[in-house]
C-alpha cells in the first residue's frame, strides 16, 4: 500500500461531519476527482467543492500543494486581468496573492485603466501556507497523496456525445481503484515530462520530484486515442542572495500603497512599509559569448520543440537578438528567503557554464548558484479536442485544465477552472441542454479574458505555450481589471453557483453604489461658467455653451471624483469609497457602449450550439467538401466558433443553421 495520508477537513458544519463519517471508506465514490495539486488543480478542487461536489484531490506530495514552481510572482499585464477574474468567481489565487505578496505594483499605471496590470512578488512559503490552509479546511474535499496510473473508462452513455465515459482512476503500484463521476486532469508539465540540463536528460516534471504520469500518458494516447503535442519551457538558476552585489543594480521599489488583487480585500497582508524591493541589471557581451560556447553541450536548445516566443531562455534571446543588452530582474523569493530569482536568465546549459554566465554580469560577478536552471519538455493534449467547458469531446466526464492544455503561467492555469465545475459535477447537464438549445455553461469572449483564453484554445489550438496578452481581447475596453466583479460575480453566483453569499452581496453593493453615483452625477447639470466658478483649474473650452453633467465633467483628465465630491459634498460624499471606479466608468462608458453591438452579435452566434456528434458528411446538409472537412476536424461547439474557423463560408453557415434548425424542430416535435 502507498503511504496514503488522508487529511480530512476540519468540518465547519456539523451536518457535513455526519455525512462524512458515514461514508468515510476507501470505497467511497466521489463526484469529482482532481489529479494534480498545482494552480489549476487547487482551483479546480476548490471550485468543485464550492458548488457542493464531494471532491478528491490526488497529488504526489501534499507538501508541494500551492508551490510556485517557477517565478515568485503573480499578475502583470493581461495575467493580472486573469487573477482579478478568478477572484471575481471566488477562486483562491487573488486572496492567496494578497496574503503572500511582498512587493505590490500596478504596471501600466500611466497607460489607461483597461490595461493596468496588478502584479506582486510573492513569498513562496506564505503562498503555499495560504493555499494549503484553505484547501485542507474545505468541507467536502479530501486530499490524498499518490500517483494515478490510469483512468477507468467504460462504454459511453449513448444519450451523450463521446466514445468513452470515465468512471474513476487507478492508483499506481497496484493501488486502489477510486470511482467518480468526473475526473479533472491538471498534471501540468508532468505528462511524459523530461528535464534537460546540458547534455543530460532525465524524466520528470519538476526538479527534485519523482517522474509520474507514465501510465496516464499511455491512457490518453493509446487507450483514448487523443492527439498530443510537445512543448518546452525552462526556469533560471536560483542565486544565493548574499553573494549578489546589489550596489551595481538599479533599485525597483513597489507601489507605496499596495493594491490588493481580491475584490473582497481592502488591504494586503503585508504592510506598505514591510514591502521589499527588486533589483534590475543587464546582460553583457560576455553573456553572449558563454551562450554561444554552450551550444554544443546544450541539447534543450538544439531541439526543435516549440518554446514560447515571449518568455524565452537567455540562450534563445541571445541567438535571436545578438549583441543586445537584455534585462535581468533580481527578484526576492520571500521575506526571509536567502535566494534570488533572476527573471530573464532561464537557461539549460551545464551547471558550470551557468555559473560562468551569471558571473559575466557585474552585479553577479561573485554570485553562487543554489540550484541550477533547467529546461522541461512535456506533452500537452491538443486543446481543439475539448468543448469550451474543457471536457474532452470524446470522453464523457473527463476534463483537462492548466498546462496540459498547452498554456503557460500560473494565472492561465487557474483561469481555466471556473468554466467547468458545474459540468464536472454532473449538474446543469440535462437532456434539454443538447443540440440547438441553451448556451453551454462557459464564459464568452465578450465577458471575460477567461473566455478569450478558452475560446482561443479550443477553436484555434496552440502552436507555442499560450500566454495571455491584452491584445488578444477584442473587447479590451470593456473587459477591465477594475470591473471583473461586476462582469462575473453575479453570473458566478446565479448561473454557476461557485460564488459565496458574502462575495455576491459585496458585488451587488458595489454595483448599486456605482449606479447610484453615476445617476447622481447625471442629475447635476450646470452651465460652463458655473463649472468654471466651482472648479477653477479645469480648462473647459470657451466656446462650449450647453449644460455639462457631472459625469461629463469626469471626462476631463484633471477632474477627479473627489474634486466633485468636495464641490457637492451632500450629494456625492457617500460614494467616495468608489471614487476611482466611478472615474473609470465615466471615461470608459461611451467607448463600451460602442462595443455593445459587436458584443451582442458575438453572443448571438455563440448562443446557437451545434450538436457535438453532428454528421458533417451527411448528404442532407448542403456543404462543399472542403467545408465539411474543416467542420468535421474542428467540431465547433457553437455557430460562432464555426464562423471563426478559416475556410467556413457565410453560405455554409446558413446551410448549417438551416439544417440544424430543421433537425431540432423534428426532434422536438416527437
Amino acid at each position: 500500500m502507498l503511504p496514503v495520508r488522508r487529511l480530512l477537513a476540519q468540518p465547519r458544519f456539523p451536518s457535513f461531519s455526519l455525512a462524512r463519517s458515514s461514508s468515510n471508506s476507501s470505497h467511497k465514490r466521489y463526484d469529482v476527482i482532481v489529479v494534480g495539486g498545482g494552480h489549476a488543480g487547487t482551483e479546480a478542487a476548490a471550485a468543485a467543492t464550492r458548488i457542493g461536489a464531494e471532491t478528491l484531490l490526488i497529488t504526489q506530495k501534499i507538501q508541494t500543494i500551492g508551490a510556485l514552481s517557477c517565478n515568485p510572482s503573480m499578475g502583470g499585464i493581461g495575467k493580472g486581468h486573469l487573477v482579478k477574474e478568478v477572484d471575481a468567481l471566488d477562486g483562491l489565487m487573488g486572496r492567496a496573492g494578497d496574503y503572500a505578496g511582498v512587493h505590490f505594483s500596478i504596471l501600466n499605471r500611466r497607460k489607461g485603466p483597461a490595461v493596468w496590470g496588478p502584479r506582486a512578488q510573492l513569498d513562496r512559503s506564505r503562498y503555499k501556507e495560504f493555499i494549503q490552509s484553505e484547501l485542507l479546511n474545505m468541507p467536502r474535499l479530501t486530499v490524498i497523496e499518490g500517483s494515478v496510473e490510469g483512468l477507468l473508462v467504460s462504454a459511453a452513455d449513448p444519450e451523450q456525445p463521446g466514445k468513452h465515459r470515465v468512471t474513476g482512476v487507478r492508483m499506481a503500484d497496484g493501488g486502489d481503484k477510486i470511482l467518480c463521476s468526473s475526473v479533472v486532469l491538471t498534471t501540468g508539465t508532468f505528462l511524459s515530462g523530461s528535464l534537460f540540463m546540458g547534455r543530460t536528460t532525465s524524466p520528470g516534471g519538476r526538479m527534485g520530484e519523482a517522474p509520474s504520469c507514465a501510465g496516464l500518458s499511455h491512457s490518453l494516447k493509446e487507450v483514448l486515442g487523443l492527439k498530443l503535442g510537445r512543448l518546452k519551457t525552462g526556469t533560471p538558476p536560483r542565486i544565493i542572495r548574499e553573494t549578489v552585489n546589489f550596489s551595481l543594480t538599479q533599485l525597483q521599489l513597489p507601489d507605496p500603497q499596495p493594491t490588493p488583487f481580491s475584490f473582497i480585500n481592502t488591504h494586503t497582508h503585508c504592510k506598505p512599509e514591510e514591502q521589499i524591493p527588486c533589483h534590475l541589471t543587464v546582460t553583457t557581451p560576455g553573456v553572449d559569448r558563454v551562450v554561444r560556447e554552450s551550444l554544443p553541450v546544450n541539447s534543450h536548445v538544439q531541439q526543435d520543440t516549440k518554446g514560447p516566443r515571449y518568455c524565452p531562455s537567455i540562450e534563445s534571446r541571445v541567438l535571436r537578438f545578438p549583441g543586445r543588452q537584455h534585462q535581468v530582474w533580481l527578484e526576492p523569493e520571500g521575506l526571509n528567503s536567502d535566494l534570488i530569482y533572476p527573471q530573464g536568465l532561464s537557461m539549460t546549459m551545464p551547471p558550470e557554464l551557468q555559473l560562468r554566465l551569471i558571473r559575466e554580469i557585474p552585479a553577479l560577478s561573485q554570485a553562487e548558484i543554489h540550484t541550477p536552471g533547467y529546461g522541461v519538455q512535456y506533452d500537452f493534449v491538443c486543446p481543439t479536442q475539448l468543448f469550451p467547458w474543457l471536457q474532452l469531446k470524446s470522453v464523457q466526464g473527463l476534463f483537462l485544465a492548466g498546462q496540459i492544455n498547452g498554456t503557460t503561467g500560473y494565472e492561465e492555469a487557474a483561469a481555466q477552472v471556473p468554466v467547468f465545475p458545474l459540468r464536472a459535477c454532473g449538474r446543469g447537464v440535462n437532456a434539454g441542454r443538447t443540440a440547438l438549445s441553451l448556451p453551454p455553461l462557459s464564459l464568452s469572449r465578450t465577458e471575460s479574458y477567461i473566455g478569450v483564453l478558452i475560446d482561443d484554445l479550443v477553436v484555434h489550438g496552440v502552436t507555442e505555450p499560450y500566454r495571455m496578452f491584452t491584445s488578444r481581447a477584442e473587447f479590451r475596453t470593456s473587459l477591465r481589471p477594475d470591473n471583473a466583479d461586476l462582469r462575473l460575480t453575479p453570473k458566478g453566483r446565479e448561473e454557476i453557483g461557485c460564488v459565496s453569499q458574502h462575495r455576491y452581496q459585496e458585488a451587488v453593493r458595489v454595483q448599486q453604489g456605482l449606479t447610484e453615483a453615476l445617476s447622481t452625477l447625471n442629475s447635476i447639470s450646470l452651465s460652463p461658467p458655473c463649472w468654471r466658478e466651482k472648479l477653477s483649474d479645469v480648462g473647459i473650452s470657451e466656446n462650449k455653451s450647453t449644460l455639462i453633467s457631472g459625469e461629463e465633467m469626469l471626462l476631463y483628465t484633471d477632474v477627479s471624483f473627489s474634486m466633485l465630491a468636495s464641490t457637492f459634498p451632500d450629494l456625492l460624499s457617500p460614494y467616495l469609497e468608489f471614487a476611482e471606479r466611478i472615474k473609470i466608468e465615466a471615461v470608459y462608458r461611451p467607448h463600451c457602449e460602442k462595443q455593445q453591438r459587436e458584443m451582442e452579435r458575438m453572443r448571438e452566434e455563440e448562443s446557437l450550439s451545434l450538436p457535438p456528434d453532428f454528421d458533417y458528411f451527411s448528404q442532407q446538409v448542403s456543404l462543399s467538401n472542403e467545408v465539411r472537412e474543416i467542420l468535421d476536424r474542428a467540431r465547433p461547439s457553437t455557430l460562432g466558433a464555426a464562423m471563426r474557423l478559416k475556410g467556413v463560408t457565410p453560405a455554409a453557415t446558413v446551410h448549417l443553421l438551416n439544417y440544424v434548425t430543421k433537425t431540432d424542430r423534428k426532434t422536438r416535435g416527437k
Partner: protein, 505 residues
Amino acid sequence: MSLSRCWRRALRMTAVRLRVRVRCDSSVSSAAGPVDTIYALSSGQGRCGVAVVRVSGPAAGGALRSVAGLSRALPAPRTALLRSILNPQTNEVLDRGLVLWFPGPHSFTGEDIAEFHIHGGPAVINGVLQALGSLPGLRPAEAGEFTQRAFHAGKLDLTEVEGLGDLIHAETEAQRRQALRQMAGDLGQLYNDWSQRLKRCLAHVEAFIDFSEGDLIEDGVLNQVDLDVPQLQMEIENHLCDERRGERLRSGVQVVIAGSTNVGKSSLFNILCQRPAAIVSPIAGTTRDIVETSLDIGGFPVLLSDTAGLRDTGDCVEKEGVRRARHMVELADVTLVLVDSTQLPQEPPMVSGFLREYLMNVLPSGNNYKQQRLLILNKIDLLPKEHISAIQNVLTQTSDLAPVCILSCHSREGLERFLTLLQDRLKTLCGDPLAGSPSLTQTRHRAHLQNCVEALNQYYQYRNVDLALAAEGLRLGLSSLGRITGKVGAEEILDVIFRDFCIGK
C-alpha cells in the same frame, strides 16, 4: 474577409429569430441595438432608362426628405411623387425623378424604405449614391443585405433559407470578383499598403502596452507611431478629397476570351471589336499579354480581353502571359472558351469528354460557382458537314457542358447565332443587380476609408491620456480598412510584435 462580417450579421439575425422561437419561455431579449440605414442601386447596371436606388432603415424617411427636398411631410405611402433630386450638401439638382415611400413594417425589408427612380446614366446614379452617402447614419449596403433584412423581419420563411444560402454564395462571389478586379490594380496596392502600415502601428502600440514595463522596448517606438499615424491619415484624406487620383474604374461586363494556343482567340477578338486590334498569325503563342478593349455590344458596356493561349511553356515571357491569362479568367464575368474544332476527337461520342476536360483546364479550379461561360468551337469551315452535324448531335445530348456555339471566324459562319447568345448573357448579367457596379464598390470603399480616418482621430485624442483608448482608435481604423483589404487578427499583430521586439519577461 470583409464580407464575412455582413454575413455574420445575417446569421446573428437568424440566430435571434431562431433562439427566440426555440426559447419562447426565455426572458433574454434580442437587444440588437440601433440598426444602420443602408442604401444601394437596386436595378442593374448598364444602359437603362430608369435606375432604382433603394434606402432601408430608420433614417430612410429623413434621407427621403433631404434628398427629395421635402421640408415637412413624407409622401403618402406607396404613391409615386415627381420631385427634383438634390444633393443636400450643395442643393445642386442631380435629376428629376419619382420618389416612393414604404413605411415599415409593410415593406420588402420590414423597415422604412425610400425608393428613388432616377435616370439611368452613370453620372446621375453616382451623384445620388454620393448624396445619400453624405447623410449621417447611412452607409452603402453590403451584398445581399436587403434580402438579409427581409429575412430578419420574417418576410422570408425558413424554407426559403436554403435559397438564401445559394443567393449569398452568388452575391459574395460576384462581389469578390468585383473587389478582386479593383484590388488587382494600383488602388489595391494603395489600400494594402495602408493596411500594412496601420497594422504595424497598432502592433507597436500593443507591444508598448503589453510589454514595455520590464522589457527593452525602445522609447522611440511610440514616437515613430506618432509620426506614422498622421501621415497615414493625411494620405487617406487626400485620396478621399481627390477624386481623380484613384485608378479610373473599369466599368462594364468583363468578357474574357480564353483557350489553348492557336485556336483563333485573337481572330474572334478582332471580329468583335471590328478592327485588327490584336495581331493574328498562324504561329502558336502570338498573343503574350492581355489585349483589352471597351465595346458596346447590343447596348451593354463590355470590357473585352484577349489572352495568351494556355499551354506549358519554357519561354518566361509567354509563361507570364499564361499566368495573366489565368488571372483574367478568374476575374471574368463571362468567359468565352475557344476550341479548335479540328483538334476534336474523330469519334463523335468522345467529344463531350474531351470538351469537359478542356473546360476544366481553362476555367479556374475549385470554383464551383457557375460563372457565365460559352464554349465556342471555331474553325468549322475546315470540317466536313456530316462530321459537324454528328458533333452537334452528341452535344445536344450532353447537358452538363457550357452552352456551345459552332462557328468559323474565317468564313463568319455561325457568328450571328453566337452574337445573339452573347447578348442574352449580357442582358442577364446587366439586368442583374448582383453584377457589382464599380461606382457602388467605390462608394463602399469611401465609406470605410472615411470611418478609418475618423477612428484615427481617437488616437490623438487619447494618446497622452489613456493609451488603451488610443490603441482602440487604431483597432477601429484597422478594422474599417480590413473591410476592404481583409481582416487582421490578433495573432498577426502578435507576429509583428515578436518579429520586431525581443520580449524577455
